[in-house]
């Protein structure tokens, strides 16, 4: 069943529609929600929604409870290759929890929260941006980590990144839900504007694995659920470009690197010269890697998770 949670008029002959698919079976009271498409250029979650719905449709008898799938919280953005909310130029993940009496966008945010409120778990799937490729990972606010890590461990991802509380992040969907005691995990994986089928399949395996532990799913699950690294057992090193130019990658994503390994080069195509050799400052695994070639000073090139401390932090 497809339910419409928002329908508001656009100027010419169109409604802004936000919809969810409700898949229900048995008498179990548990409800999980899969949400994505907050950022209109992040599409990895599209495959997850399709594949999860397909598998549930084909094996409905194993489901005991409710799965709700929200493939596009920002439908105007997804359908127009726009990251933010078109016409308002707003990042939709900075307007929560919204306002019941606010204008269109604030009110929409409020209704989304009301609709998700009370779920036993919400998985909010993001796909980085068009610049960076991300290893499948969960991002969890340190204040929620005790409660959420056991669930994130089930999701068949590679990394759990526990981040500090930042006031700016209080206006995200995940934070707004977590503070009203609706547990929400942000999954970041892949890259903007693309679908990485392998990552999508892995996350669907992970969601079913989690549902099994939540006693919502008695069907088959993957035997190979990966055990994620936890960021608090090491250090996350950020590597930014020192100069503007074009990057030529030397390593691939998700690989182990040694301190001093060449990650990429920033080059000047006019002169045919290398402007900067970017070397790994540590031994570790490259969990974020820039793929978009044009960089300015400061552009993020890579993030490496290391068991040892990052040099800059010393």
């Amino acid at each position: 069943m497809i339910k419409t949670i928002i329908s508001e008029g656009l100027p010419v002959d169109e409604q802004l529609l936000i919809r969810k698919k409700v898949i229900q079976n048995g008498t179990g009271p548990k409800r999980i929600c899969i949400v994505t498409g907050t950022h209109g250029d992040e599409l990895e979650g599209q495959f997850v929604c399709y594949e999860l719905t397909r598998r549930l449709n084909e094996n409905l008898r194993f489901l005991d409870g409710t799965v709700e799938v929200y493939p596009a919280l920002n439908p105007l953005g997804v359908d127009s290759v726009t990251r933010g909310i078109p016409t308002f130029d707003l990042d939709m993940n900075r307007i929560f929890p919204g306002d019941k009496y606010g204008h269109l966008i604030e009110h929409t945010a409020y209704e989304i929260i009301q609709d998700l409120r009370g779920a036993d778990m919400v998985i909010d799937i993001h796909a980085s941006n068009i610049f960076l490729r991300e290893m499948p990972q969960a991002r969890i606010n340190v204040q929620m980590s005790k409660k959420l890590i056991p669930y994130a461990n089930l999701l068949n991802i590679d990394f759990i990144w526990i981040h500090d509380a930042a006031t700016v992040l209080e206006s995200t969907l995940a934070h707004s839900l977590n503070i009203i005691k609706t547990p929400t995990i942000v999954v970041e994986m892949g890259i903007g504007m693309r679908i990485t089928r392998d990552y999508g399949n892995r996350l669907v395996d992970g969601i079913l694995n989690m549902m099994r532990k939540m006693k919502m799913w008695s069907g088959p699950i993957s035997k190979e659920i990966s055990k994620p690294m936890l960021s608090t057992t090491g250090d996350v090193c950020f590597i930014n470009a020192d100069v503007s130019g074009i990057i030529i990658p030397s390593v691939s994503h998700s690989v182990d690197v040694k301190k001093g390994d060449l990650l990429c080069q920033i080059v000047d195509p006019f002169e045919g010269v290398i402007l900067q050799n970017i070397l790994s400052p540590v031994d570790g695994v490259v969990f974020t890697l820039r793929t978009y070639p044009v960089v300015y000073e400061g552009s993020l090139i890579a993030r490496i998770f290391s068991k040892s401390a990052c040099i800059e932090d010393l």
Binding site: E8, G9, F88, H103, T167, G245
Partner: protein
Amino acid sequence: MKQEILFQMKSPYRDDFKIQGFRFGEGEKSVAIVGAMRGDEIQQQFTCSQVVKNLIELENEGKILPGHEILVIPSANHFSMNINKRFWAMDNTDINRMFPGYDKGETTQRIAAALFDEVRGFKYGIQLASFYMPGEFIPHVRMMDTGFQNVKLAKKFGLPYVLIRKPKPYDTAVLNYNWQVFDTQAFSIYSGDTDTINKESAKIAWFSILRFLNSMKIIDNKIHDGFNSCVLSDNELETIKSDQAGILYNLRGAKDEVKQGDLLAKILDPFTGAVRSEIYSPVDGTIFFAHDKPLIHQNTLMYKIVKF
């Protein structure tokens, strides 16, 4: 006046990106003024350029009082302005969501850090700001209720209104908030427009800045007193939202005085021209904000009215 390059960065193929500062006088760091931080803030940039023009004239006449330094930064984002983008040309991030900045971080964090490094430590900070919704305002000074704000000073601008509003989570990353945290009295000036130049309202804004500088004894430039500002908080404004979507036909705009029951606008069916909705004023008052784009969504902010 000393014109300085405060920040410079190479671009792969475009000309270098520079932030230019115009420094007047010497002595105590008295006031820093920041113009456009978004590419569509053309009115803000224009207003700031007029402030620079006036200060050059005043300096030539010896009317910048000794012991004061004034720094004006008309533009911190012309890389976006020159190509009709609102946010940072490369990654679409908003410089005014990056303060206090981080000099080892992403590009816009570095720009914010460089800018903040230049403008922090001044006694007063003035930003020519814009609103995220399209529309026209009554000229006003806006302050955040951080506990550090000084309303008395805000009234020295002589603008019709001083608006105090509660900060939201994202505000912790804007310039105004960070100024206040680092002991600068910070004011945001809203002159009415953003992506078009309205000379009348720009003039009100640059006069208000000169009036403030005069009244703080930073310059000697007597101009008329301006308004005895009315101090408001955001929740005292009467808000009117659209009950329909369609073509917006505005009858009344910002600055207009209205009576309860006055017809303010009509929303028309975009196919037949039939009137879908008539918007009436619920109160006697002055229109503080008016949506001014020709198309309107349902349930969108149309007017904010100050009640008499």
